[in-house]
């Protein structure tokens, strides 16, 4: 474990060293990401400005809701978006064979192949809005709430990472992974930008029991903002970090299955 982190740290240092040559491009890309998601927040702000609230959620509430989703997505993205999500390309390019000839796990190697530096823009913008919203709405966090908040972020990162790994793994079986991913991950997950209570009940069920995206931000937000309506919601909220572990395990299982298929084990 320590080896892994020290290798990753070395990689990040060298990556940024080389990025320094393209300083202008780097900051430009970062800013454009920052701006893009800033606009998303601005959109929420305009809505709330003119409507007063959405389903009882004001701008700070929405900031926290969306913030949880975006932050966990961006953190996940820095680690694995450029590589694992694009596994299809790596396979056709022969990269997977290269990874298999090295004495280290394939996923780990993909993590230190390409750092998702462009996601830093998202991280910055969301931390700003999240902090503002938390200070505004909740004041100071109690240790318990703070711990829960951190756990949910970790859990959320695990779910997002799990999703990216799952979608990448599709490439082991078919070339259509990009489109399937876009649809079931990005499009459906977008529903969670808004509090799920405003949608018909069945949507909430799908996003809980079929695609666990609601556990990334909705249920945790319910607890953090004290908006839980039922005991049921409360339990789901508490479970959120656990769901992260479970979902990631499933993704890893599928990934390893795919790897075995690639090597022809059991063929």
């Amino acid at each position: 474990m320590r080896e892994f982190f020290s290798t990753y740290w070395l990689y990040i240092k060298t990556f940024f060293k080389s990025r320094a040559e393209y300083r202008v491009g780097f900051f430009l890309g970062l800013f454009s990401n920052f701006y893009g998601y800033f606009i998303t927040y601005a959109t929420f702000w305009v809505l709330v400005s003119s409507l007063g609230h959405i389903g009882g959620w004001d701008f700070s509430d929405l900031s926290i809701l969306y913030g949880l989703s975006l932050l966990t997505y961006a953190i996940s993205g820095t680690l694995i978006w450029y590589t694992v999500y694009h596994l299809g390309g790596i396979i056709t390019g022969g990269g997977l064979d290269m990874y298999l000839t090295r004495p280290l796990g394939v996923l780990r190697q993909m993590i230190f192949q390409r750092f998702g530096d462009t996601f830093i823009g998202q991280i910055i913008v969301t931390i700003i809005f999240l902090s503002m919203a938390i200070i505004n709405k909740i004041g100071t966090l109690t240790p318990a709430l703070f711990a829960y908040f951190l756990l949910c972020i970790i859990g959320g990162v695990l779910i997002q990472a799990g999703a990216m790994i799952l979608i990448g793994s599709i490439s082991f079986w078919t070339k259509r992974s990009a489109e399937i991913g876009e649809l079931f991950y990005y499009e459906i997950r977008d529903l969670t930008q808004y509090p799920l209570s405003i949608f018909p009940r069945w949507i909430q069920l799908v996003l809980t029991y079929v695609f666990p995206w609601a556990f990334i931000n909705y249920y945790p937000a319910l607890i953090i903002l004290n908006k839980t309506q039922t005991v049921y919601d409360f339990i789901l909220g508490l479970l959120s970090p656990v769901i992260g572990i479970l979902f990631l395990s499933v993704s890893l299982f599928v990934f390893n299955r795919g790897l075995r298929k690639y090597s022809g084990a059991g063929n």
Binding site: E3, T7, L10, T14, S18, M98, L100, T101, P103, S263
Partner: protein, 322 residues
Amino acid sequence: MNIIEIEKLSRNFKVAKRDGNFLRYMFRRKHTTVEAVKDISFTIQPGELVGFIGPNGAGKSTTIKMMAGILVPSSGNIRVLEKVPYQNRKSNAANIGVLFGQRSQLWWDLPVSDTFKLLKKIYKIPDNIYKENTNTYGDILGIGDFVDQPVRQLSLGQRMRADLCASLLHNPKILFLDEPTIGLDVVVKKQIREMIRGINAQKGVTVILTTHDMKDIDEICQRIIMIDKGQIIIDKPTGDVKNRFKGNSTITMVFDKIPDELNVPQAESVELKDDGKAVISFNSAIISSAVIISDIISKHKIVDITIKEPEIDDIIRNLYNQ
């Protein structure tokens, strides 16, 4: 000890059959089985320099992948360094080095030296060995000039040398080279071949090479294994192969007046064509083109002469026919 032992190794692939029936293709495909590697056996001793040749799709890379632990055989036994490679992927990986000619293992946007540092961590190379190897191989391969440049700025030759160095840093016992000289200019090709020989001589690294360039085989390998349609056609020392299967050169001569009969002793075949041409096929190890030509010119009037050296396809076809 055999460093590599392969016994009755087979590898099959299921390929979806492209059926005429469109609906069936979408929903329930029939599969045919392609036998990429069929019951092959051979052993390799430590320190050998072995070359694998054969047409594309013959099964060469499938065999290499099984030795490297990437692919699992469908049947048969394979042992590399006395262990089963696909069951011990990581420990096998620590002992082998791989160079893919068409794909670099260096990080594209980082300087070469940084790739080396990362590989040092991945392969857990001790400091002293790392230092020794970066210096030694760095010198032999002449990469000191560009070792701090990002890989994307390097020429193909420079990148190949850096890749070769990278594959040796962890002192692998076996080096797999997949088309190591592809796309390189003549000078660099010669350099790389010398370096590979040198590394084998100095460190006793077993070298396994796949290539389409016969000169690679010529200058590096002591032993040739030829694979075609999944089976081993030839497994002999290079010297034997060169001498006996060199392939035929052809001379095409246009006669002013085609003779009824043309006798060329020691030629493989003589073909007289209707358009006044004679095609003479011969083995240049047995008789030279100069002798044949001077002999015929002394007896007939010749309008035009074309000489064709044996091509690799001819050699391979010849080898196959034997």
